[in-house]
Structures are given as C-alpha cells and as structure tokens.
Subunit: 271 residues, 4 copies
C-alpha cells in the first residue's frame, strides 16, 4: 500500500471504481482507507456513487467520522461504519460497506456464507451476522449513529466480514488491495455457494485449508495479477478515474499540521 | 420534480431511457408523468421502446387517456393504465408499467413480493395482485379499456405497486425520480427474494423498518446519488436522449390555452 | 414481409444478427426464410455464425435442401430441418433452429414449456417434444438426413415450436419478423417459467388468453416497436450487417429461370 | 493446429483471450499448448491474467515445468498441472486450468457433470473428481508440487476433464482449438445441467450419442465456425492480442538447439 498520501488517494479512487465495475458496489456502498501517516484519520469520498469517484472527491476524517476540514459537499450518512471499525481494529487498513447482489440473499435468508473454494478462503472460517433490530429496534437500517457503528464493529470482532441482516455486508482489509480482493471473492464465493445449494449441499474448505488459502492471498503475485486484470477491465470500459486537479494536488502536496484533536489522535494511536 | 414543462419532458425522456438501460423495461413497457401545471393531464411518449424515447416523442393526454392534440403517430394501447391511476390517486405524479424479468416469476407463481432489504422498503409493506381474468375473462391480457384500467387502479389502492398476474407490474411514484427508484429497487428486491428462497426462506423487513426506509428514500441525498449513477451509466453507453428539436421547442414555448374538455378538467382537479 | 428478393435477403441477414445479439443463437443455430416468389425454395446463409451473416452469405435452396447453385462455400449440415418443415407446412414462411440457454434446461429435464405471460402466448398452447433417439437410435444428435428432418417436422405438427431433447429447439413463423418475436419470447417465457418454478409452481395462461395473445402479436404495432428496439441495440453494438456487395447485387437483380426440378416445384406449391 | 512455432504462439495468445472473454477464465487460470516440434516441451504464458496475454508473454517449459530460459518475469505457480499432464498423456496437445463460475458449483457440491446436450458430448461420458486433501491433507489448494501434479494427472486418467474439489477444473484437448471448444462447452453444459436440476432431473446423453457427438466436434466445419465467432466477439470488444514485438520475433525466428536435458527429452519422447 502506498505510504504517500497522493498515491494512496489515487489508489482509493481506483479501488472505488474497480468495486463499482466488478458488481460489488452500485449507486450505493463506499470504500475507505486509513490515512497512511496518521492512524487516527481515514480517507473516504464525498457522497457519490463509487464508479464516479475522482481523487478530488476524497476527504479526510477523524476516527469519530468528522471531516477534518469543513465540508462543502454532501457526506455519506453511514461513515461511522468506517470510523468505528478503524477505532476497534488497529490491524484494519481499509473498509468497504456494500449491498452486493451475490451477498444479499444470505442477508435475507440468514444463512451463513462459508468459504467453498480456495479464493473464498480469504474471507476466513466464519462470517458473523449483525441484526440492527436486536439492539436498536425499528430503524431505516442505515448505520448512522456512533453506537450503531460500535455495535457493528463489535459484531465484526476479529473477522474479515460481517453480514448485516436485511441490509448488506461490511468487509475489512489489511490493505486497500487486500480489501478489494476480499470484497470481490466473497461475492464469487457466495454465488457458487448458492448455486451449489441448488445441486445439494455446499461443503466448506477444511479449517487448515482456509488458513493456508488466506496466507496465499496476501502474497503479491496473485494480488498484482488480479489488480492488473480489474484495472484493464475498467480501462476497457473507459472508466478509469481522472487525475487529481493540479490546484488541489498542489495544495495537498504541502504538508500540513494535523487538525486532529488530541483525543482522536490518542484513539488512533492506541490501537 | 421540475415544474417547468420543457424540463419535465427532458426528465421524462431520461427516465424512460434509464429504466430501459437498467433492465426494468425492454421493447415494451412505458413511463408517464403528471402534467406539472395541469393535474388533469399527463405526459406519455408515443408508442416506442423506452430506450429510444426522445423529448419530441412525448405527447399530452387527458385523464381519459385521449391525446390532447390529434396524433400523427401510433399511441401505446395500454395508456388507460396511466389515466385511470392519475384519476384515482391525486398523490401519484408518475406511473411505470413494465414486465421486468426480476418481477415476472412472482406474477407467474403468484407469490407475493415483500421488502427484504432496506432499499426494498420503498415499495411498501404489501404489494397486491390483480388478475385481469377475474373480472374480464379471456383477454389478450393488455389493459386497454377504461373499465380494465379502473379495475387495476382499484387493485392498486393506496399501494406503491400492483402485480398483474401472467403479465407484469405497475408502479407509481410521488415524483418521476421516486418512480424510477421504486421501479429499479423492486426489481433488485425481487431478485434477492427469489434467490433467498433457494437458500431457505426470505424474511421481510419489520413494518416499522419499512416505514422508516421509505421516508429515507424520499430524501434528496440518496435520490441524487442514484440518479447521477444511472445517468452516468446511460451516458457511458452512448444512450442519452437527444435534445428536443428547436422547431418543436419553439412551438411549445408559447403557452397555449388548454384543449381539455370541461369534463376532463373536472376529473383531473377533483382529485 | 418484403416480397422483393433483395429486401428479404437484407432482412434475413438482420434477423440472423438480431437473434445472435439477443442471445437466442450463438456460434451455432440458423435462420431461414421461404423464397418470396417461389414457395418451392428457401433462403439460408452458408455455414457461419448468425451474428456474422452478411447478405452475400445467403444462398437459395430447393425444399430438398439442395443448393440451387453449386456452392463454393461450406453449408449448414442441418439444413434439412428447414427444407422438411417448408415441405410439410405451407403456412410457414420462416424457420429458426437454436440451442438457446433459456430453453436448453427444458430439453434436458424433459419438462414442457408453457406460456406463462402474455408475450409467451405467441408460442401457442402446447410445445411438443421430439427425441431423435426414439426413431434413429444413437446419433451425434444433428438432424442431417431427410428422414430425420421429416420426423422432426411430423413432431412439430401444426405447432409453433418443437423441443428437441438433449439438443435444442426449432421455431417457425408466419413471417420472418413473427419468427424473430417468437424465438425471443419463447426464451423469455422459459426463463420466467424456470424461475417461477423455484418459487413454487408456474401457472400457464388460460387457453382463451393464449389464442388472443397470439392474435395480438401478429399486429404491426407491437412487431414494429420490438423490431426497432432490437435493431437499435444491434446498431449500438456496432453489429449491423454490411450491405450486399454491388457486384453480387447486380448479378442477382437480373431475374433468372428457376432451376428447381418439377418435383420440387410440385412439392413447394402443393402446400 | 499450426506446426510453426510463431503461428502457434499467436494462436495460444488468442486462445487465452477467447477463454478470458467467454467467461471461462478471469484474473486466474491458464492455458498451455505442447511445443509443435518438441513433444518434451510446452508453451505457457508468464504469470498474467489470460485476457491480457500477448505473444511476447509466452515462455517455453520442459515437462518438469522448468522454464527453458532463465525467466525475468513471474511464472504461474501451478504450472506443474500442465507439465505432469503432458508427461502422462502423449495424446494431449493443450491444457487449460480454470475456476469457471459455471463449473464451481459442481466442485463445491461434489455432484458430477454429465453431458446433457450434443455439444456437451465433447467432454466425454465421465468426468472424475480429484480431492487434493485426500492425499496431501491441508494445503492452500494450489497444485504446485510435482507429486500434486502427478496425482491430478492420475485422477484425470484418459478423460477429458477432471473436477478439482473446492478449487476448479482442468481440461485437456487434442489441439488448442479442441481445448477451447471443450472448455467453453463444459461450462455451457454445466449451466444447463444445474438449471435442469431446478426443474427436476437432468438426463445425460446415451453413451453412443456421447461418442458420436465427440467425433462430430473434431470436424473442422464446426470448430472453424465457432472459432470465427469467438474471435469476432473478442475483436468487437477491442481485445485482440497485439502482434509479437519484431525484436523478439526476429530472435525467435532463428532456430536454436534445444536446451532440454537428455532426461527431459526422453520423457517427452517416450510418450
């Protein structure tokens, strides 16, 4: 993962578009990455469909999910999903919340997704469920309050994915590319599992296979091959993100003192 | 919703193409909007596939589904669906009749569609069925007579959608954009519900969740985000509607006395 | 249907490409039309995938499925399907043999396709099955002998479609456009029927509805609307057929005495 | 199959892209061909997604799956699949390893794929399963060791395809084009079989039909028609492989003594 802010913003715009183009995200859903030099902040686009995200759309947030600069644009309502997970999991570097068509049937039928093929191993042995109604009763199902975000983060625990009943899924990654792989492979896995179900039953990988398959998919060779493939598909569709506007780029290239509050900084660094 | 006739006609052409491009409409199906200044009229294209509609194709109708000007083009046979619903429901500003692939299995199996995810909440708690055969016996299943249209409008009642057995669905909206959202989300909802069914059973949202999710999707933030996304997809496919021809635009920009009959006017205004 | 040979050849190339583009035909399958002025002949492309067919690829055959001119190109092996049906059914003006993905599951499971929505009415009340193995034992399943073609034509009888077990389907039309509509709508119908089956059961149209729906879909309004739609989609994909090369066109514009044998002519005219 | 190395490399790049474009391969999976003049070698691209393969990416390997020249690029980890099958089966001229979406449900549910339509006949009467866990216990499921490759080759036996539980499939061909046909048709066959299953049951072809259908699909007419179709689709998507860079081509056009070891040569020639 780039440790340079400008490169990471470019990669985040690309990740948004790849996940939009590969059918994980549509008009809704969002992808963030932890700030490369300040673990008490994260980067998330303004409220816009992922396939349209440009580097200029990307804003900085504290882990309380407050924008660092007063925003002139609309923000995602559900950004606490990101902030609360970054607070709870110092190992998480990137977060994606989505309502992918492959995953929704499992969120509706309340049937667990289990890894059924080697690439599915990257999602881990168990994917927990979270039902917003259990703790918060009738809502519009959006995760907008800090306590809702914290409840979701607790349900996620140390797992890679949490399924949100009647809503969607939230996936975390050890890097932005790791997140993109997991988000795409959980969809493929869910699709094959559902179809296997129509043939009879779907047997999961052995626990030892899951662990080894996950290690495998942290290796650069496979990640790079997949990333080149998805980028090429995006480019063939004429959907690559534009470069950052030079004015903004110039402004950002000057390092600035962080405006994060001491409390936010503590939170971010404590984990 | 634009209160200006020219802008609304532009938006209606775009709505037709978005619904065509997103898989709700194909060669058949149609979308109308109530006239912005005369509630006793509505706007509906001439008989043409929705993905091809241009502003110049859009005609004015009275609520008896008669064209205001003698038409030189073929008209949709089923326009009474629109007129009868505008007569029965003064709160309805836009109507879409379709045979979407996601919805048809439910019209064939006579299984109710229920909201199973938050975006599905916009379709309401219950979707009634209508069987043309019950009241009219053997027909070609097209809704072409006033009494057929009125019967369908009665079945719709105060709901957002009515499923027409062995035929398709009719959706209504509080605005054109509200209609487009509902039409697309009912298809996503039906798809997830059917697939959840193959895994076991599909649990609907709680009634309170449905009400709150519907309120949510009347807010501008989500509507605008989705509209930008669908428009971008249409543009990327090179399928944006052309502008209205200037001759016609010039002609229309001159306000004209309404040719609606007193009886039609009464009907339109009474509700 | 054009009664002019050149226009009909143009329409046949277009019909091939529409059916290729709409997913009815892929690398295989073929579409023919009866000769506009000589009922004892039919027009069918040389052996080539339908989406690639150009007017110059189209050849004339006698009803014994012999090319009228000595061919310099490879011919479809299964052309007897066309000849034998034109011999048996004087009302049939166009024939399509295909292995569409929507229809194959029914040919594999030996489950009847029944019309389940109004556009499906055009396929008629009953679709018979034909099992080549019953009469001919082990074959490669291609219909290449006259007796195989005649057996298939007998199974078709007066119906619109015959399902060929473990192989595909053959559809007939009262015109080329009627054939294209039926071929596309049987695929949609099969898709909805299969999916309705996963929800419970699929109820067919009432017999009277089927008859009236079929009459409806012979009317020009719907046919023209659908044809414009499919043509537009083909054009948007950059896949419209090229015009006939002028040399060939010049040669063909000179009327020539038919080389059909008296026996073939009798056959063609007798029905 | 071209017996000229340059032409075969061009065909191999094209085969990779066709299988990528037709949905058999995605970011992963790979296709190889036996060397046209040295049966003790095979050609396989460097580690890259199949839809991106260019002639310059293609490397020579011994049957021990060692690159003939010291590689400057990353290699596929699972190349022993190819080498071990070429060692075990002298009749095999091309190999494809894939994780196609149509086939995976059968690898997950452990249900056999059987030929259910005439084009499916090309996959043969029986497709064996292989479970890496049986012999090797917990692995990451990649086939990377010689003994894993040999075990897989034993499971394949004299068949055309072997299904790898929780992983994917490996297909072999009598030529590169034969391999491409089989790889695509097994996916179509699996899709129809799964869908037939939702309607009831899927009856396979009669054994005699399978044998005759396989003979049929070795004939040039059908192969050429399908190849033209897939190439056209690839070209329409702007995805044809570039030509080989002239520098490399020049270098390769000079025949060179083989650097294969005597042991490798023996292996390759012995079979």
């Amino acid at each position: 993962m780039p440790d340079n802010l400008t490169d990471l913003i470019t990669e985040l715009a690309l990740a948004n578009r790849i996940l939009g183009h590969e059918g994980v995200l549509d008009a809704f859903g969002h992808v963030s990455v932890r700030h490369p030099s300040d673990p008490g902040r994260y980067l998330l686009p303004r409220s816009r469909s992922p396939l349209l995200i440009e580097p200029d759309d990307i804003l900085e947030y504290t882990l309380d999910s407050e924008p660092v600069k007063p925003p002139k644009v609309a923000l995602y309502a559900e950004r606490v999903i990101h902030g609360c997970i970054y607070q709870a999991r110092s190992d998480v570097m990137a977060v994606c919340h989505h309502h992918a068509a492959a995953v929704l049937p499992f969120c509706v039928a309340e049937k667990p997704i289990v890894p059924v093929f080697h690439l599915g191993g990257t999602i881990g042995e168990e994917i927990p469920f979270w039902d917003q109604h259990d703790e918060f009763g009738d809502t519009n199902l959006l995760v907008v309050k800090q306590e809702e975000g914290r409840s979701l983060a607790r349900a996620l625990g140390q797992h890679s994915v949490v399924l949100m009943l009647r809503h969607g899924a939230t996936v975390v990654g050890r890097s932005l590319k790791d997140l993109v792989l997991r988000s795409i492979f959980i969809c493929q896995n869910a699709e094959y599992q559902l179809r296997a179900h129509t043939l009879g039953s779907a047997s999961p990988l052995y626990p030892g296979e899951i662990r080894q398959a996950d290690v495998l998919h942290q290796q650069r060779a496979g990640v790079d091959r997949a990333w080149e493939y998805w980028s090429m598909r995006l480019e063939a569709a004429g959907a690559m993100p534009p470069r950052r506007s030079s004015a903004k780029a110039a402004r950002r290239s000057v390092p600035k003192p962080s405006r994060v509050t001491p409390r936010e900084r503590r939170k971010g660094r404590r984990r």
